[in-house]
Amino acid sequence: MGLQIIKPDTKIDFIGFRKIAFLISALVILMGLGSLVMQGGPKYGIDFAGGMIVQIKTEKQVDVETVKESLADVELPGLVVQRLGLEDDSEFLIRTSSSEVSSGEVRDMLSTALDSGLGKGGFEVQRLEMVGPKVGKDLRTKALEAMFFAVLLIAIYISGRFEQRWTAAAVMATGLFAGQYALALTGMDMAWLIVGMLAITLGLCWYLKLNYALGAVVALVHDVTITVGIFSILGKEFDLTIIAALLTIIGYSLNDTIIVFDRIRENLIGSKGKGEFKSIINTSVNQTLSRTLLTSGTTLLVVLCLYVLGGGVIHDFALALLIGIFVGTYSSIFVASPVLLGFGPTPPEVDEEPEAA
């Protein structure tokens, strides 16, 4: 047998750590939310807020201050200069909140200013993006919708698949759509709509005793909230690629949670309902622990390569994935399972063996 990082007879009392884990999670979530509140909501990139970004690459290595100074006289609303990627990439992002001035004019204004500041031809425009305010709003609504539908479909899938309760899953789906319709009629903002829908989802899961789905959705909301919070603390902007990253995190986090849940379910069937639920969960988490760590490890390894070597454009995307995968791994061990414990196991109604394959 090859190497082993986790000894086969490992028996860590993960459930015993749940109070500390909840405390840590709550703390991180509160910090993130606090940062969001202090900044008056997420910091939207131009995809969602509208505006224009121009990415330039300078011939020589210069620091941000030099670029800022040469642009000091350019009169564009909300002009911000940022370094993109790593120190020696010599790439900068120039951002303005205006989408009224034509891209040609902005290009000309920047060219003139940078030519005098950095020397003629000392830079190259690599990318220019402009998003009008209306499109930005549409994209924001669509992104939130996407996140919501992802959670919805996944909750339904888990309920059906894990507890063989497709009827309950169907009831939940109907309830959710009715709820969404009702909430949409009140004309509230999309963001609040999502919060409302998540509350309904959790409420329905709890009412219908869809405990696996409940555990998974709680873990998922946990992961997304933490990632968003940390992003906010780091002062990063939210754009379409970050949404893509968040959806990937949702997928990944569930992947992890489901593998643990799968084992719990299998062990429950094996124990014929006897034995303490707590110890079954502990055993299951321990049994899947080496897999969890190995997979997270290799995925993190690859994402780290992306983060370090992938270039400025995917830098933030990779960062979101790094945080998300880390948090997702943590939550499948310390959050999802304790939630499942808190609400008790659902006795398998039909004795469908996973060995059928």
Binding site: M1, P8, Q126, R127, E129, T248, I250, T298, L301, I314
Partner: protein
């Protein structure tokens, strides 16, 4: 074990298929005779990788509606006059309505009967005044409004396509988003985005109007039927001019426009009219000899030459202080026709070609390094089983590339990220299986039995775990635009191929391994 041969054949077939589609993407193969015989032409690269422009254009439907109503109003007035029913010139009202005033209330029935012929309008309200005049407020029929919106959008797409074709961009992608009255334009590999945007965005509404020199444009209120415009002189200064509002001739009769050069080698645009346009032009020039004729493009006077004599033959020219490029661009938009409504650029993403190349290099390099690290790790950690995992991992990447090429999907930067992520996730399936086999081995099962048990128990778990990721990917695809869709496609494809390779192909390798070993031998996992 019997089916082993069949499974090997199936795997090899899939491998060949993947290779056949993947190979043309490699730079060394494309032009060769091997590249010619292979299906497909390799992977499409997204704009973020090869550089180019992505535009979202909004068609200003309100203007289109307003113009349509104004035209209809004029038509009604004309037709009414033929029947000797007299109405005043239609007045535009807010909300795409027009107001028409009937002079004699005795003609109400006659006028309303006439209005019935215009199915595009509905009578919103009528008010009779003391002096016998009747005011009609006309609105647009909702069904017609929808139809008009559709036609306007179609027409705009057609015009833009014409312009881009003449501009000479290879593989442009122009599609309409009916629901939001938007048009998406993708122009790969373009070096001068501003010029393309100028050409696409020009309404190019060409009119010929007569200059009214009897009125001083600098003072007073203009009499009805006159309008103020500006003319750009040779020195670049704008001079106000007064024009007669009626445009007896418009750009719709233009059949050709090209750049010519004058005596001083200065470029100008010469126009040819169709037969009806030529007749109109002849009549106008005949009636207005000695006056100035303004050539108005998008409400701006380009030139206003003196009409020396009646001009027949259907040729006209637009002079002005153009550069050759400007003249050529003007000819393009005139040739391609005018846009049915003004458009605005709602979203613009331009990626320079050098960034594209850099992105590819960075993306591929980080993918290769990440993959190499994972490959090394797997062998160190799992021994022989790690070699199996590595084999199927490489096969997996090959199949993703082949799949992307076969489905004609577009590889974007997030797409590369998707592939990198799948590398990480593909390992997951192997790890789940291997860990399970280890567990079974610890329980004391033989290698063969442990493999059997490990695979069958792991398969469902892998399936469950991956279905949820596919759900997330499908939603990403549904809502996403360009690059995000690319990510969703690679992710989905990656999950499918990783399940095939990790469950089906790796099993073959294990079965072959177990077959050639003594019953009690230890397994390298």
């Amino acid at each position: 074990m019997q089916s082993l041969r069949w499974r090997i054949i199936v795997s090899l077939l899939v491998l060949m298929l993947g290779l056949a589609y993947m190979l043309p993407s490699l730079p060394g193969i494309k032009g060769t005779s091997l590249g010619q015989t292979l299906p497909g032409s390799g992977i499409n690269l997204g704009l973020d990788l090869k550089g180019g422009i992505h535009l979202t254009l909004g068609v200003d439907m309100n203007t289109a509606f307003k113009n349509a109503m104004a035209r209809t109003g004029d038509d009604i007035k004309e037709l009414a006059r033929e029947d000797e029913v007299y109405v005043l010139k239609p007045v535009a009202m807010p909300g795409d309505r027009i107001e028409m005033t009937l002079l004699k209330k005795e003609q109400r029935d006659q006028f309303e009967k006439l209005l019935e012929d215009f199915q595009s309008v509905t009578i919103e309200s009528t008010t009779s005044a003391e002096d016998g005049k009747v005011k009609y407020e006309l609105g647009m029929n909702p069904k017609y409004r929808k139809e008009l919106a559709r036609m306007t959008l179609d027409q705009a797409v057609k015009t833009i396509r014409n312009r881009i074709d003449q501009f000479g961009v290879t593989e442009p992608d122009i599609r309409k988003q009916q629901a939001s009255n938007r048009i998406q334009v993708q122009l790969p590999g373009l070096s001068d985005p501003e010029r393309a945007i100028r050409i696409i965005g020009k309404t190019a509404h060409l009119e010929f109007k007569i200059v009214d020199q009897s009125i001083d444009p600098t003072k007073g209120i203009l009499p009805p039927g006159r309008e103020l415009s500006t003319r750009v002189g040779r020195d670049g200064k704008e001079v106000p001019v007064v024009l007669k509002s009626d445009a007896p001739l418009t750009g719709e009769y233009v059949t050709d426009a090209r750049v010519s050069y004058g005596r001083m080698n200065e470029p100008y645009v010469s126009l040819s009219f169709d037969s009806k346009g030529a007749r109109l032009f002849e009549r106008i020039t005949g009636e207005n000899t000695g006056k100035l004729m303004a050539i108005v493009l998008d409400k701006k006077v380009y030139s206003a030459p003196v009409i020396n004599e009646k001009i027949s033959g259907g040729q006209a020219s637009i002079t002005g202080s153009f550069t050759t490029e400007e003249a050529r661009d003007l000819a393009i938009v005139l040739r391609a026709g005018s846009l049915p409504a003004p458009i605005s650029i709602l979203e613009q993403r331009t990626v320079g070609p050098s960034l594209g190349q850099e992105s590819i290099d960075n993306g591929i390099n980080s993918a290769l390094i990440g993959m190499a690290l994972v490959l090394i790790f797997m062998v160190v950690y799992y021994g022989f089983a790690g070699v199996v995992a590595d084999t199927v991992l490489v096969l997996n990447i090959l199949l993703i590339m082949g799949g992307l090429a076969a489905f004609g999907a577009t590889l974007t930067l997030p797409g590369i990220a998707g592939i990198i992520l799948t590398i990480g996730m593909a390992v997951d399936a192997n790890v789940i299986i291997f860990e399970r086999i280890r567990e079974e081995l610890r329980k004391g099962l033989t290698a063969r039995a442990a493999i059997e048990e490990g695979y069958s128990r792991a398969t469902l778990t892998i399936l469950d775990a991956n279905v949820t990721t596919v759900i997330a990917a499908i939603i990403l695809y549904q809502f996403g635009t360009g690059p995000i869709r690319g990510f969703a496609v690679t992710l989905t494809l990656g999950i499918i191929t990783s399940m095939f390779t990790a469950i089906f192909v790796s099993r073959i390798l294990f079965d072959m391994y177990a077959k050639n070993r003594a019953e009690g031998a230890k397994m390298s996992i």
